[in-house]
């Protein structure tokens, strides 16, 4: 085991938690990520192999697969972001590549992103101040990339009223966190 101690995207040693009224915003630190892009002409093989990993068909456009041990989000045509528990899958990219072999290009994305979970009685008014996604039309399992506070983010819907996961660029975690918490203070 190596000797380097990680810090969170916000620079702490433990996840940051903020609460306003009935909504909490929790920094995500236990998520390993790897992007998968099918090689040209190997789209079917890639989807098939991915299905083996995910134990389900890779999600369609605008969708996410919220499951354990592997979750997935559609990123683009024949391209997905795979997620898993960091503690047990820090080498997620290697693991996935090992199964997909030359059917796909796999890239470690774990630390390219930071994340925040919005949970509580009603997160919709908060989301309405953050981005243009039609939160009230979303259903569990919807996922979309959009812009929050001028940052390209993934908005993943667990439950449109009570649970939203936001993934954003790690280097801007502070700005994203500020945007989310000020929106909470304003909307709630």
């Amino acid at each position: 085991m190596h000797s380097l101690t990680p810090i969170t995207a916000l620079g702490g040693t433990a996840p940051r938690v903020d609460q306003v009224a009935g909504v909490t915003c929790t920094e995500i630190t236990d998520l390993a990520l790897a992007s998968v892009a099918a090689r040209l002409g190997k789209e079917k093989a890639c989807a098939k192999a991915l299905k083996a990993v995910l134990k389900a068909a890779p999600p369609d456009a605008g969708k996410a697969l919220l499951a354990q041990p592997f979750s997935a989000v559609w990123m683009g045509p024949d391209q997905w972001m795979i997620g898993a528990d960091f503690a047990t899958h820090e080498d997620l990219a290697e693991q996935v590549k090992a199964t997909l072999k030359d059917a796909a290009s796999v890239t470690e994305q774990t630390d390219a992103w930071c994340g925040f979970d919005l949970a509580g009685d009603d997160v919709r008014p908060v989301m309405e101040l953050l981005c243009n996604v039609n939160i009230r039309a979303m259903t569990g399992g919807d996922a979309t990339r959009t812009s929050i506070h001028h940052l390209g983010c993934f908005v993943i819907c667990g439950d449109p009223q009570s649970f939203i996961r936001i993934l954003g660029p790690r280097a801007s975690a502070g700005s994203l966190h500020h945007a989310i918490t000020t929106a909470m203070a304003s909307a709630l």
Partner: protein, 981 residues
């Protein structure tokens, strides 16, 4: 406190008295009042002064179309210039000041302008102030400027915050009058997602101001009941205090919600206003209509207002400007005012009706076929001068005069995509035209259906149509259904100083002069006279001006045309458009993985795009940044330094065609690059100009990691995706950015290898033999953490770049510092980085400035002729390959104590100093500890052949002239031995 002009009834809460101040004087009003209604209730008619002539003014209207009653609301940093008293909600402790007067509202010295009005006609300033020429700047203009504007800014930063938000619906209903409420009910009951927005704080529109009945009960009851029903539907959103300001492309509407303008100070964390972007495939405009005035001489005195406004003040706010009023009308609607105010015990002096067949009344005197031709009263109306049907004249005593010339539909939003309204002869008014913004329909008075019944009816019908609701419509509630025809009556015969645009002081006379001087199109008219250019955007004045222009031109009004309205519907706080993106949040901030460590270390940070980077690391005793930077450079070149270079763009390039792809985007070759090797690459734009440079490391046969400059990371990624998807769609290559995923540090200096050997796990041999210059590899560090190592050098020293997953970057930096103690390892910032790259002659942003070619950069031979690559063909154009083309050179002052300035120009040692003799310019400059002299990089005509030439570096704008020598750009280790050590 007494409110002498307060009447009975109204929608005000008499149990909630509110104290407020106007021009320092204390008054009391009630919850539900506007500032204007409260002031009128307190017998205050005079509320402002006009722009040009400083004429005394009171409210003309009771709404957002108000041109006159503008005040400076609040104080200190929250001062709001030109706030309409007619829409400002009264709150406890409200403070307001009148504007554009000195020393006081009642006595305004600038009112002298009114005496000289005959000189200050439309466009007078274009014809004068020209002699003598020099006087314009020094004398005339300062005077004109001093007179500018109505209100004033606080000159302090706005202390309030603003939010932006996004809402979606199936149908957006704009305006909550009878048509809007009826539409929202119909749509809401169908289950559709509905947003009902109204600029007023009380929904109901005109119904709040009238004494009409619906279903045989007072309309208030129906309004209250409807709002309650809508409120109960969770598919309907009521947005009061929300002005829809603009109709933008494809059903996107801008709307501003005034969240906190009706309170003293916003609650903690709450915004003053929210700019909503409403996505609405269908929109129903129910914006109602605006009453139009009739122009007569001196028709602008306080107390003279639209008849409907008098009615609003009396019915909704239980206030009247005076206890003896008159009405001047050309239609039946005007009579309503007399009836309603009479019912509230206000004495009706007379109703002056231009029609000979005006209706009779047993409650008040009706003067048929009569006109108001002039008015009296210095600071407020005292008498109206009449011309009766028989031509005789009569003076009528009254403290207020309600004027009604009919109604104009509020077509504004229908014009926002440049659709023109069309003329309706029966109404003598413009109605929404054929080309509305896609998805928009119009109902009620806004489309010229003026009766309550028609409003309710059309609101429901249009909502059904818009949403394609099947089945029979619910019956429309019973309501007044008087047919409305309007006959035009714009101004009184022979009037001259009769105001059309009251705020900008544009009179009938000005319009006539404009026509006389050939400014005859609507566009010329409004620009020449400023008609309709005031803050009310001509809502009450454009039609009058048009009508007069048409008459003078002997044309019909539609032939003269109409000015189309532009967003926003009403003036909107700039802060609302800015939202949260201000101060330190103007742009997101990107922090490097070593940021928190660097902060502890006391680093000075600098903005590099959105990144914050350590610029230098001062230590105890250092008083000037140069001391720190020189130390960092020396220490690095002497032993070892570490710099966070995570900000360089990193793009993961994979696929069987990865090498072939890079061969296209880089002008130099990549096909033959061996696995485990890195190569410098230069990217050209298709026009042959250098776009960016960086390195590409081949980690595997089908896997490269490309680096870009910090500044161009996004641009290069976009370009590569364009090449991949649009130019070579069947190359097997996939791209993804990994810039933030890896903490990447440059470890540079003769001892860099020794330091890294303590970090890199033993099973990876990084000796010069095993890991030579330009090598790269996936390795592990600190006992098994995955990492990447590149042997590349920006500093010109033996150097490596090491990368670990970002979350470990902080720890790796601390590790490098602790393990490096024995070598006196020194962290260095962007300044030292810059110094070393200049000493080494490496191009960076200042050289890659978007106009330089590979040739200029001294890399002409890198552009491979053996293959096709982006930009190679157009880089061959003669103009980019001239004999004396600019070439990158080094610059050294003859006297080492002299300064070299980036941005300075190069001139021959002797001869004239001017643009014609310009030889080149300095792009970068720095003090080189190595040479103990300032040095520079620059571009010089035919620079390749001028080494050793003495020249002058001139920078007149920083008044500097220095004798310099042209030298090689490689100041340090020109043979590159150190990097290979």
């Amino acid at each position: 406190m007494t409110q002498p002009n307060r009447l009975a009834g109204g929608q005000i809460n008499r149990d909630a008295p509110l104290n407020f101040h106007f021009d320092g004087k204390a008054y009391q009003g009630y919850q539900g009042d506007t500032l204007a209604s409260a002031l009128l209730a307190n017998n205050v008619r005079l509320m402002g002064r006009s722009f040009k002539y400083h004429r005394p003014r009171g409210p003309l209207t009771a709404g957002s179309e108000e041109p006159n009653a503008m005040v400076e609301l609040r104080g200190g940093a929250r001062q709001e210039p030109s706030t309409r008293a007619t829409t400002a909600e009264l709150y406890h402790g409200l403070m307001a000041k009148s504007q554009n007067r000195w020393p006081s509202l009642a006595f305004d010295a600038m009112a002298i302008n009114d005496r000289f009005s005959t000189f200050l006609t439309a466009g007078f300033y274009y014809k004068t102030f020209m002699w003598p020429a020099a006087f314009w700047e020094k004398i005339y203009e300062p005077i004109i400027r001093k007179a500018a504007g109505l209100g004033s800014l606080s000159m302090k930063a706005d202390p309030d915050v603003y939010d932006k938000g996004f809402r979606h619906c199936d149908l957006l209903v704009i305006g909550a009058g009878p048509a809007g409420l009826s539409a929202a009910l119909t749509a809401g009951r169908s289950g559709a997602q509905v947003i009902l927005a109204d600029e007023d704080f009380a929904m109901g529109g005109r119904l709040n101001s009238e004494t009409l009945s619906i279903n045989d009960a007072h309309a208030d009851a129906w309004v209250a009941h409807s709002i309650a029903e809508l409120f109960a539907m969770n598919n309907v959103r009521l947005m009061p205090r929300t002005t829809v300001i603009g109709a933008f492309d494809h059903g996107i509407y801008g709307a501003v919600e005034r969240v906190s303008d009706h309170v003293h100070i916003p609650d903690e964390g709450k915004p003053r206003q929210i700019l909503w972007r409403i996505y609405a495939p269908k929109t129903l405009l129910c914006a109602g209509a605006t009453e139009r005035p009739i122009a007569f001489d001196n028709n602008d005195r306080p107390g003279i207002m639209l008849a409907s406004a008098l009615r609003s003040y009396a019915n909704r706010w239980a206030a009247t400007p005076a206890h003896r009023i008159a009405v001047f009308t050309n239609n039946d609607d005007g009579h309503r005012t007399a009836i309603d105010l009479h019912a509230k015990g206000v004495k009706i002096a007379a109703v002056v009706d231009t029609r000979l067949d005006a209706p009779f009344s047993d409650q008040y005197e009706v003067l048929k076929g009569a006109q108001v031709i002039d008015s009296k009263g210095r600071l407020g109306l005292t008498f109206a001068e009449l011309r009766l049907a028989d031509g005789s004249e009569r003076t009528l005593e009254c403290g207020a005069l309600g004027v009604s010339g009919g109604w104009n539909p509020n077509v504004h939003l229908t014009c926002h995509q440049r659709g023109r309204p069309t003329w309706n002869d029966d109404l003598a008014a413009f109605v929404p035209g054929g080309t509305l913004p896609p998805g928009m329909s119009v109902a009620g008075a806004a489309v010229g259906l003026f009766s309550t019944h028609d409003a309710l009816q059309s609101g429901a019908a249009e909502a059904k149509k818009a949403l394609g609701i099947k089945g029979r419509a619910a019956p429309v509630p019973k309501a007044e259904d008087a047919p409305v025809t309007q006959t035009p009556f714009w101004y009184v015969e022979g009037c001259s100083r009769a105001w059309l645009d009251q705020q900008n002081d544009v009179t009938v006379k000005d319009v006539k002069l404009s026509h006389q001087e050939g400014f005859r199109s609507v566009e010329h008219l409004k620009r020449y006279t400023t008609l309709g250019m005031a803050t009310d955007q001509g809502k009450t004045s454009n039609m009058g001006g048009l009508a007069i222009m048409a008459e003078l031109a002997g044309k019909a009004i539609p032939e003269v045309g109409t000015t189309i309205f532009r967003p926003p519907y009403t003036p909107t706080a700039i802060g609302a458009f800015g939202g949260r993106m201000r101060g330190m949040e103007f742009h997101p901030t990107r922090l490097t993985p070593s940021h928190f460590w660097a902060k502890e270390r006391g680093a000075v940070f600098v903005e590099v795009g959105n990144w914050l980077r350590a610029q230098w690391f001062p230590i105890a005793g250092e008083t000037h940044w140069r001391e720190s930077v020189d130390r960092e450079v020396k220490a690095t070149r002497a032993s070892v330094g570490v710099c966070d270079c995570t900000t360089l763009g990193k793009i993961d390039v994979q696929g069987t065609d990865a090498a072939a792809f890079l061969n296209k985007v880089y002008c130099n070759g990549f096909a033959k690059l061996a696995v485990g090797k890195t190569r410098y690459g230069l990217m050209l734009r298709e026009d042959g100009i250098a776009m960016d440079d960086g390195t590409a490391a081949r980690l595997e046969e089908d896997h490269f990691v490309v680096t870009t400059t910090t500044a161009n990371a996004a641009k290069v990624y976009q370009h590569m995706e364009f090449v991949r998807q649009c130019l070579f769609p069947d190359m097997d290559v996939q791209l993804i950015s990994t810039t933030e995923g890896w903490a990447q540090y440059a470890v540079a200096g003769p001892n860099s290898r020794k330091l890294l050997q303590k970090i890199v796990d033993a099973d990876h041999d990084i000796s010069n033999e095993a890991f030579p210059f330009m090598a790269c590899a996936n390795i592990t560090v600190c006992g098994g953490l995955r990492a990447r190592l590149f042997r590349i050098s920006f500093s010109g020293e033996l150097a490596f770049e090491i990368a670990v997953p970002s979350r470990y970057g902080d720890a790796l930096m601390r590790k490098l510092m602790s393990e490096g103690e024995e070598f006196d390892v020194t962290p260095y910032g962007t300044e030292a980085l810059g110094v070393m790259r200049i000493e080494k002659g490496h191009a960076a942003g200042n050289e890659l400035n978007g106009t330089t070619t590979a040739l200029n950069l001294g890399m002409g031979r890198m552009v491979s002729k053996a293959k096709d690559s982006i930009g190679s063909k157009l880089s061959e154009r003669p103009g980019l390959n001239e004999e004396d083309a600019l070439m990158q050179v080094g610059i050294k002052p003859l006297d080492a104590s002299q300064k070299v300035t980036a941005g300075g120009h190069l001139m021959k040692a002797t001869g004239p100093v001017d643009a014609a003799h310009d030889q080149g310019y300095v792009t970068s400059a720095a003090f080189s500890p190595e040479l103990d002299s300032m040095i520079g990089l620059g571009f010089l005509k035919d620079g390749g052949n001028r080494k050793g030439e003495r020249m002058r570096l001139v920078s007149p704008v920083t008044n500097l002239t220095v004798e310099v020598e042209i030298v090689s750009a490689h100041f340090v280790d020109p043979e590159g031995e150190r990097v290979r050590a």
